[in-house]
Amino acid sequence: MLDDFFIRALLAGIGIAIVTGPTGCFIIWRRLSFFGDTLSHSALLGVTLAVFFDINIAFSVFVISSVIAIMLLKLQKTTKLPGDALLGLLAHSSLAAGLVVIGFLSSIRFDVMGLLFGDILAVNQNDLLLIWIGGALILLILKLIWKPLFASTVNYELAEAEGMKPDKYNAIFTVLMAAIIAISIKIVGLLLITGMLIMPAAMARNISNNPIQMVKLSILGGLLSVVIGLFSSLEFNSASGPSIITAALILFCLSLIKFKKYSELKK
């Protein structure tokens, strides 16, 4: 059954949706959307370096994204530039560096479109293993650090005062984000990873009133987007990554309609 490319695509997409659901919620709560973008831009450099030195792509992307994340934290403390300027600086310099490296790789056949938008229909069994094992690990860590991470998301000082060690858990979460980008880059593509992270969560925010509910709905929204997106990609012969994100957009719009009714009720 796993030989069927469509089944593999579905399994990969489902695995990613389960992981990006809860992580996306934290990204929205902590206002890290643009940070996610920066990390995924830097993933291009990770991929090209992996091809250049012939090492594992996911590993290379994870390392480069983590380095960029740590550099950002350092720069925030040592410079007076605002956070968004630093993010732009890192995003575009790593993107540019990645593109320069691609130039050196001209002798190797390189699927740039697949890299940017993902190629979910070319998932092999190794990719599936990486997604499901890596994803399970990420979810487990997220569950273990849920309480302190959530407390420091709600209020840093409160968490610090009551012994929740927010700095430590913020750093762990940053590394988890890098890991998610690493395992999903091949499937969703680096331009659309942030969309996969925040769109189901944004949809869930509109229709939930407590954190656990938002996480559950975010996972559900991600799953629906993957299933609808992949089937429509098969039906209309459209690119799979963008189809998934478009499905997520439609779900978001539907949640918006409901949200308006809800807020009218409150008035």
């Binding site: 206002r31 998301t153 709600v154 000082e157 009551e162 407590n210």
Partner: protein
């Protein structure tokens, strides 16, 4: 008997500077079980900074902070909850600890906001939110409470009730409290030890001692010293000069 009270917090010559400016310097104080220590002082005198030093929020400090408990409850002066967070009062109550449902109900009940249990935090009024903040801090049965202007925005009737509640908590839970308050009436009637700050410790001691201090009178004006005489009759105990309590029989 007073000697047996466990010390919960000890600041020794603590100070904190930011951008080469000392926010507060040379603060020494001690909070013991069942005691209320109050910080008073004008705006910008370093009260909140001192509380944050005590709580370990400010880490690069001068001097020493020793905490002898990690069951800490904190009611900050300012807190903003992001509207992007869908969070109800009940979720907020178990933010850093896992109080039982009963503990949550009791805490919400005594601060008078049990009816808000399933409401979204973003929809509360300022005073309601303040009550929830206090409830959250006490639901976890802390040994040491830091209350930074805990009754701001609370209506007049609620204010008195909440100060009575704070007094009750310190007695019933045998909890040490570091209180920051502008309300001199309350400070002088309900606390065991007063530290008057103005960038440094201006004077400290029992309310009686502080009220007679010249620097205190200069900071707060002549009327401040008369407050004590109005409220003194409420005391059910006296203090020895080092701040320990002697109960009247």
């Amino acid at each position: 008997m007073n000697k047996e009270k466990k010390t919960l917090l000890k600041l020794e010559n603590a100070g904190f500077s930011k951008n080469n400016k000392w926010l507060v310097k040379g603060v020494s104080l001690e909070v013991r079980q069942g005691e209320i220590v109050t910080l008073i002082g004008p705006n910008g005198s370093g009260k909140t900074t001192t509380a944050k030093i005590a709580l370990g929020i400010y880490k690069e400090i001068e001097g020493k902070v020793n905490k002898f408990t990690n069951k800490i409850g904190y009611v900050p002066q300012k807190i903003s909850i992001d509207w992007t967070l869908p969070i109800r009062v009940i979720d907020f109550m178990s933010l850093t600890e896992e109080p039982t449902d009963e503990q949550i109900n009791i805490a919400l009940n005594i601060t008078g906001v049990q009816h808000l249990k399933n409401k979204s935090l973003g929809n509360l009024s300022g005073g309601e939110f303040q009550r929830v903040l206090i409830a959250r801090a006490i639901a976890k049965q802390p040994e040491f409470l830091v209350l930074d202007e805990p009754v701001q925005g609370v209506d007049f009737k609620g204010e008195i009730a909440l100060y009575e509640l704070i007094k009750k908590i310190s007695e019933e839970l045998n909890c040490g409290i570091l209180l920051i308050s502008h309300d001199l009436h309350v400070v002088m009637s309900a606390t065991d030890f007063v530290v008057c700050l103005n960038g440094h410790v201006c004077c400290s001691g029992t309310p009686q001692v502080v009220a007679k201090n010249d620097e205190y009178q200069e900071l707060f004006g002549d009327r401040a010293s008369t407050i004590l005489s109005i409220y003194e009759h409420k005391h059910d105990h006296t203090h020895s000069p080092d701040g320990t309590i002697k109960r009247k029989q």
